[in-house]
């Protein structure tokens, strides 16, 4: 079973539709996804090779129960142990993995759970990524907030008590320029203690500029580390260039960011290999930049506007939990974020085991915080959402739910220095 990603819109012109179909059906019409485009900075790094040599030789099926048991008995988790913990053989040891993961989480993070909220400021996109609601061929309500609108949204979010914000855009340099994002960061610094970015990958000097504007944390999802599959899913646009995306976190650190976040979108390809790659991406970059703070996310595919049927295929909650436990055992020191793509029940459970950060008061649409937070209908236009969320709890509700579980919610753990 595979996802059916290709959806035609009646709103596309015949020319656009023809181009879309050509991209979908004729691989030769697509640009080389491993080749940098003009303006894309190339950095000298051996991280990618280190990661991919493991990923390419990884055979999840070759690990046995004895390998998993041995991995769980070891004091520290080697790469080989981690591979065993990600394997199908480890599925029978999920409870033991969870117990071990909980111990590691408590040693490094105690019972704290960090809270943040995303703020989408624009949903224009110049890429055709077939699974994404923002893709350029998907007919949705597009919007880019003005600085006044951004400040309005930020005030509403800040009033709810939130101290950390993650600013997101669709991937369009022309509609959402680096300067536009930089100005949004400056505004965010007025209202929040910690400003993160999840935007299109940029060059080192641009990350430096954004850091100077107040951003301190950069999240870039690789989506899938399987380059062949990546090519089949990202058919058009800057995002199609796989290696430039891979080096994003390293460029961000070179640009002075305090921390970086990583993820594969589970369900796009072999999730075990993608999980291995994501964690090794952290592992090798941490060795090179030991002072950097790092975190992992673990999103699964979700339905989007105009395609309700998109799903994470074989990555059920059990598999997701296995991946998260394996992440925690292999990388006890990293933050693990679980987004509102997952249900309230799953998030309540996983914060007791491995996750250290959850979003609350989430909207993946544009300019709709007022209506979502206050119930007041906004007269302004709104932009459509990137994907359907599953857990819509407010900050207040999330705070009390987490507290009731015996955990300590934390609104900020950073100082911009």
């Amino acid at each position: 079973m595979e996802n059916q990603f290709f959806v035609d819109s009646e709103f596309l012109s015949p020319g656009a539709l023809a181009k879309k179909h050509q991209l979908e059906n004729d691989p030769a019409s697509r640009k080389n996804h491993m080749e940098y485009l003009p303006g894309m900075e190339i950095i000298k790094s051996d991280v990618c090779e280190s990661v991919m040599s493991h990923v390419n030789s990884y055979e999840p099926g070759k690990y046995a129960a004895s390998d998993v048991k041995a991995a769980l008995e070891h004091d520290t988790c080697t790469i080989e142990d981690f591979k065993a913990l990600l394997s199908p053989a480890a599925e029978n040891f999920l409870e033991q993995m969870a117990q071990r993961a909980r111990l590691e989480t408590s040693k490094h993070f105690g019972n704290t759970v960090y809270l943040f909220t995303p703020l989408y400021i624009a949903n224009y996109c110049e890429n055709y990524c077939v699974y994404c609601g923002f893709n350029c061929y998907n007919h949705i309500q597009r919007m880019k907030l003005s600085m006044e609108q951004i400040e309005h949204e930020m005030k509403i979010i800040a009033d709810s008590g939130m101290e950390e914000i993650l600013i997101l855009t669709g991937e369009s340099r022309t509609k959402s320029s680096v300067e536009y994002i930089g100005e949004a960061c400056k505004l965010a610094r007025k209202y929040f203690r910690m400003v993160g970015l999840e935007i299109y990958p940029v060059n080192t000097d641009e990350y430096k500029y954004l850091h100077e504007c107040g951003a301190d944390y950069v999240t870039v999802f690789q989506e899938t580390y399987d380059t062949v599959r990546y090519e089949q899913l990202h058919l058009f646009g800057h995002k199609r260039v796989w290696p430039y995306r891979f080096d994003s976190q390293e460029r961000a650190l070179m640009g002075g960011m305090r921390g970086v976040a990583f993820s594969a979108l589970l369900g796009l390809s072999d999730f075990r290999k993608d999980a291995l790659a994501s964690a090794l991406h952290v592992y090798y970059l941490q060795r090179k930049y030991p002072y950097a703070e790092m975190s992992l996310s673990c999103p699964r595919l979700r339905p989007i506007i105009n395609n309700e049927k998109i799903n994470p295929l074989d990555v059920h909650e059990k598999q997701l939990c296995q991946v998260l436990c394996a992440y925690r055992i292999f990388l006890p020191f990293v933050g693990i974020t679980v987004s509102s793509r997952e249900s309230a029940e799953f998030r309540n459970g996983i914060v007791k085991i491995a996750a250290t950060k959850v979003s609350a008061g989430v909207s993946t649409g544009i300019g709709d915080h007022e209506s979502k937070y206050t119930g007041k209908e906004s007269s302004d236009a709104q932009g459509d959402e990137q994907f359907e969320i599953s857990d819509s709890r407010s900050l207040e509700k999330m705070y009390s739910d987490i507290s009731e579980e015996g955990l300590q919610p934390v609104l900020n753990d950073y100082l911009y220095v």
Binding site: N111, T112, F333, V417
Partner: protein, 256 residues
Amino acid sequence: MNEDKLKIGGHEFNSRFILGSGKYSMKLIEAAIKYAGAEIITLAVRRANTKENENILDYIPKGITLLPNTSGARNADEAVRIARLAKALGCGDFVKIEIMRDSKYLLPDNYETIKATEILANEGFVVMPYMYPDLNVARDLVNAGAATIMPLASPIGSNKGLATKDFIQILIDEIDLPIIVDAGIGRPSQACEAMEMGAAAIMSNTALATAGNLPAMAEAFKNAIEAGRKAYLAGLGRVLTRGASASDPLTGFLRD
């Protein structure tokens, strides 16, 4: 014995147990302080809330000395800025310097710690530097104006106990400032052992935070630390590493 006070930068304390506050629920802080008998509690400046939501300061009883730490700082410059911010926030003159250039093991950067200590001591702070136990560094910290030396027992959060025992003993033997063992102490027995060695105090967070019953564990630590201190002051009996102490010594026949 009643006059046995912990002296740090001109301040005196009866308790030799410094509590961390970062890894457990704020609602437990008051109970932890009570059962630990603690008079000093650390506070991560980077986590201090600026808004009305739960503020950790509201949970710390009056009369308890705040020890703001500079966690999150990656170099001396950042640590100095965080320390000044703590003072501006009204956290007092004490500061625990924590400078980490490693996000994996969170091992302290001794070199940058010396630099920050010198700057902050000159500004009038009571500086308590967290460090990797190295005698030369400890001497430099003394010269830089530190009020105590806080060597780690093992990696922070590890609960692995006195992995650096021999090197902490060297600091205790050679440095005139109070040596406060910080990080890695996982059990009351380990805290007791460090105190028997002559450590001036113990700082602990994870061992309590990961315990099944936090207040009970706080009390267990308190008792262990007091026992270790008394044993140290009483003067421990000798330990023979081999054999026994013969009542008829082999050399008893020697006449002159």
